[in-house]
Structures are given as structure tokens and as C-alpha cells.
Symmetry: C2
Subunit: 194 residues, 2 copies
């Protein structure tokens, strides 16, 4: 039995789908979740294993003890990185959408996870303010929210992201297609001949 | 292209390996990690996707803010449950080894995760004390550690665990074999014909 198990093991490894970490980063209201959701939907339709990690999901179970101070947001990103690491090395496409404003935290995620793809969701602060239905920017400008990225806390632009998606001048559908094209060009779908 | 992607998707789902959550629970020093490590090794040799979650691993990245109070240990188990949920529903065999003394927390994990298998590592307190190289039981008996499971805090025995492994009267190798047999009997290896 030991021998047949080992043989099966070799066969399996050949067929294994590789996972990836699609790390969407950008200003509040830049459109990270919208595109990540659309990409996730496409990947699921292809039969791939997909997990979305965003603030709403993660803060319910993984980080509900955390607030929004710089320290807490760092800790939040650290836990997300750990979960993305475990999932991506097990063949799952993990799509994270967090502001993740600090380059060093994103670089840590790059080192820890499998096939890290940094996707910079680019949008001007002016346009983000226009889209802000919750009025968070307004509160930040009025000083009612402290350490708000883009207003009172810096957003460190990615220096060498794998993808830059301009959500100000291109549609969500166009940007979704760019992500799918990137994955196809980089042979992430080779096992399914997609 | 859409059509061929959908077809591939159907093909893939057929071949998918199902995951499981092997939840090892028991008193401190009862032998949870020893057996979980041995089972994990066997499953890896079979070419399956495997993750081990134990205190040492998890407290480094996921829960390093937490102490050992009842509340903190509950929160620890809650986060482990979340990670086990994401992994097990994506075809990974997750092996957790935590004292997890409270039935309600274990039942929550049972509800949240895929193919939850509760494995009660049974060993008398007397025998656990003999094995305790770190002297934790001694400290607990002396009142130097508060809320220590088995001494000053209750361990709620599983009522209907999928497996009971007696580490006092059976060897680690025998108990490991029992877990593998359980998984084989319950068709967890069917995709590999193991």
C-alpha cells in the first residue's frame, strides 16, 4: 500500500492547480472591492478555487478585536497575509482588497505568499471623494476621522506592481479583463487549458 | 471561450479532492500534537494538501496579541476555526491541535468547517502530569498558573467524537493508523484510489 500511495502522490502533483495571491491595493473608494469581486466571479466560473478576503469578511471573525488605528490596521494586514499564505500555497486564488497603504506591509505579504500579484487600483483622491457614498472623506477632511488614508495618513504608491488599473478612466469590465489576461498570459490557467 | 471555460469547470469539479478538518482535542500533554504530526506526515506522503495548525504556529502570526485567559483562548479557537473553514472547503486537510476544552467552541467549529472530524485524545490527568516536561501541571497545582485545563479549569469531554484515541494504552503509531483507517473507510481518499 505504501508504494501505491507514493505513486498516486506523484500523479497528483502533476495535476495540481497552483494558487495565487491577488493583492488589490489603493485609496478608500478607489474601486478595489468592485474589481476583486468581478475577477473572483470569473475565476469561480472557470471552476477554480477562489476566496475573497476583504474588510467586511475578515473583521467579523479574524480581527473583530481591532480598530482602525495605524497599529491595528497593520495587525489586520498581518493576519490577512497569514491566511493568504496558507490558502495560496494550497492551490487557492486569494483576492484581497484592503487599502494596505504601507509598502513594507505589502512587501511582507509578497514574501510570505505564493504567486503574489500586486494590483494597484489607481484613482485620484478627487474622484474617490466623489464616489464616497458614506461620506468618510468628508469626515476625514473635517478632522472627525484621524489617520485617514489619502487625507491625514499617507498612501505609499506601489513602485513595481504587477498591474496598475486606472478606475478613473477605464470601466470595471475593462479592468477585470486586464486581470484575467494577466493570469492567462502568465500561465495560471494552464492546467485547465483555459 | 466562455463555453470552453464552463466545460473545463465541470470536468474539474469531478476531480476535486474534498478537504476535512481533523480537530484534535484533549488535556495538556495528552499527545494531540504528536499524533496530529504523524497523521499529517502520512497524508502529505499520499500527495494530499495538508496544513497543521497548532499553538506555536498560530500564536506567531494570527493571535500573537492573545494571552491564555479563558476569553483569549476562546478568541484563539475562533480564529483557528475561521482559517480551518477557508482551508477545508478548498480541499485541504487541516489538522488542528488545541486543548479546546469547551464543547460549545468545538461545536461552532463543527458547524463552520467542512467535514469536521472530532478526535478526542484521551489520557488521564495522572498520565498527562507524568509526561509534562515543562512542569506546567506542577505550576498549576501550586496555583502559579490560573485557569489551567484539567486542574483549575474544566475539560468538557466530547460527547460524540468521531474518534477516541487512547494515548495511555495505545502507541502513537497505532493511533495514527486509526485515523488513516477512519479517513479511508469514509472515502476521503477515493479520488486517489488510496
Amino acid at each position: 500500500m505504501e508504494v501505491s500511495e507514493a505513486q498516486s502522490s506523484e500523479d497528483m502533483k502533476e495535476k495540481r492547480q497552483q494558487g495565487a495571491t491577488l493583492w488589490f491595493t489603493g485609496l478608500p473608494c478607489s474601486g478595489k472591492s468592485t474589481i476583486a469581486d468581478l475577477v473572483a466571479k470569473r475565476l469561480k466560473e472557470m471552476g477554480l478555487r477562489v476566496e475573497r478576503l476583504d474588510g467586511d469578511i475578515v473583521r467579523k471573525s479574524l480581527t473583530r478585536d481591532l480598530g482602525f488605528s495605524k497599529e491595528d490596521r497593520d495587525l489586520n494586514i498581518e493576519r490577512v497575509t497569514f491566511v493568504a499564505k496558507l490558502l495560496s500555497r494550497n492551490g487557492v486564488f486569494v483576492l484581497t482588497s484592503f487599502i494596505s497603504p504601507y509598502a513594507n506591509k505589502r512587501n511582507h505579504a509578497r514574501q510570505e505568499t505564493t504567486n503574489f500579484i500586486e494590483i494597484y487600483i489607481k484613482c485620484s483622491v478627487e474622484e474617490c471623494i466623489k464616489r464616497d457614498v458614506k461620506g468618510m472623506y468628508k469626515k476625514a477632511i473635517a478632522g472627525e476621522i484621524e489617520e485617514f488614508t489619502g487625507i491625514s495618513d499617507p498612501y505609499e504608491e506601489p513602485e513595481n506592481p504587477e498591474l496598475v488599473l486606472d478606475t478613473e478612466h477605464e470601466t470595471a469590465a475593462q479592468n477585470t479583463e486586464k486581470v484575467i489576461k494577466y493570469l492567462r498570459d502568465h500561465k495560471f490557467f494552464k492546467d485547465q487549458n483555459l
